[in-house]
Symmetry: C2
Amino acid sequence: MTRISDVAQRANVSSATVSRALSGDIHVDSVTRQRVLDSAAALDYRLDGTARAMRRRRSDLIGLVISTIENPFFTEVAHAAEHAAQQRGYSLIICNTDEDPVEEQRYLNLLDTLLASGVILAPAPGTSLYLHRFIGGRLPIVLINRTLELPFPSVVCDDEDAAYECTSLLAQRGAKRIGAVTGLPDTSTTHNRLRGYHRALTDAGLASESQWEIFGGATVQGGYRAAQRLMSNGHAPDALLCFNNVMTQGGVMALMDMGMRWPDDVDIAGFGVFSTARLYRPPLTLVSQPTHEMGRRAVEMILDHPVQAAPAPVILQNRVVQSNAWPADNVAMTSAAHNIN
Amino acid sequence: MTRISDVAQRANVSSATVSRALSGDIHVDSVTRQRVLDSAAALDYRLDGTARAMRRRRSDLIGLVISTIENPFFTEVAHAAEHAAQQRGYSLIICNTDEDPVEEQRYLNLLDTLLASGVILAPAPGTSLYLHRFIGGRLPIVLINRTLELPFPSVVCDDEDAAYECTSLLAQRGAKRIGAVTGLPDTSTTHNRLRGYHRALTDAGLASESQWEIFGGATVQGGYRAAQRLMSNGHAPDALLCFNNVMTQGGVMALMDMGMRWPDDVDIAGFGVFSTARLYRPPLTLVSQPTHEMGRRAVEMILDHPVQAAPAPVILQNRVVQSNAWPADNVAMTSAAHNIN
DNA sequence: TTGTAGGCGTTATCAC
DNA sequence: GTGATAACGCCTACAA
């Protein structure tokens, strides 16, 4: 294997100078630098990442740890984060934990011992049980999407406002009994969305009945079944708010399969925009989430605030949209805009 | 920072023994081992990944380099690969190149200098220009989805057969003028799908007209416009085969927007299964691709054949399915089955 | 601007 | 089964 000393020898300089030239140190004569670069190129030499990281006690990696890579919400975050990291000379490494807290912990430890510059973490249920280990540690961590009862900085959406807005909209359109397909219990997102939902019901003078709130299981199938169950009730809702992107899909499917048309039979609104939503007539009312901004901001927070002071969460604005905008639209299509398969 | 010698001291052994105990070496007395593990736990100590990789000249990382993380095809591959890697004690690192060959090369170099155990690469257009650099190198590379004119092992789908089967099916259903929304030129996938398509046309005694073959631009919008253009032709096709997952979505959208019903006005079939496909009535004819098997096999090839002998491509079977199976279905839903947002 | 030299934390080798 | 020791390849005071 070719090492730094080989390049040094070929360029007639010391290995220190090669190191400086190759890492972009300014204190190198431009002629010398060029000679070094030429030698390195001739030998097809690149600095060894492991030795470099070991000696510097840091690597220019940022980890993005997500629970479900198959959720477009996270792939959009990943896309934006990758771009932001790359712009600043860092590499983004995406780790999928498959909703397994043990896996999640493994990846966090990996990134820690790999001396990553930071980790962007979308916490899964169970995360907080071990995360305290990293409080005040070497590894900067930024939470996205959900907050935890732990002093980490975070970037989230204004879930309460969006839920409020959707619910109010449903009420304005005439709904009297607004049901909810809710998300995972004990998460900040579900908590906030529920709060917005309840607040809107109150403000609209509508009743809030617990039988109209069902946890959707956080899957398409779960959303499907929850909506089906809600609508089969003798005293069924006349409108539905779905708390996340995949359950919204399931909810819509359920209505279609039950032969119910919106907004007449049941009105419906939900979090998350999906690529085929625009096909539905009438259009759906959906919450478009600022995934790209979330990814970008998280990277910035990692790089610009290496010392974690546990500031207040950064809250990004959701947008309530109608699903019929296209092809000019650059929101609904994002999750499936590219393909090289 | 706590180091291996601290643990050694606490356990009254040498650092060599700690190293052996912590890396699972068998040649350690079980009592000693336990003492070491206890000490390590007490000190919250974990081996330093960079030092370890540097000394061993390898890390237990597998890279997955894809061009578009927002394509469900690749996220499904990633999910399966992650699982397979984890099962064997490796960590999968996903890198998104955003279809930029420069980025792709950066990530390959990164994984190389990080001493990864191997890389699974979904080559983008332009890849082969620099990839020769890795031929016979330290870093095992397995290509997925597409093959290249380079001696790397690969795992692909039987694209020709699937295209043949779909085209034949359209012909059997009565289509006489079958058009194609094709994929990126100069790729093995497009090449093979075109071959299957043409072969089926010939076998069915149907004409092949170049005006019925349009490159879809490999996006939803591209598929939409291509389908629209094809169908606006005075001498329009009476059936359409779309060459990849997102263009299939675009194609379906175009037909709906033009008020055309399948299979009566135009019949349609396409590669890729998407989660909302089951809503369409009548069901769509889609090619379900073996993404999970692809991810799993690629990991196995990396780990079991570290010496690359450039064997023949591993070809996995596609399945032509109808899009109405659900909820028992475990194919169509895969790409959106999970959510914790 | 460049060189010298020491050490980052681990593991492979070789003794015992 | 365990210990001593010498690298692994690079970076960074410090000196020149």
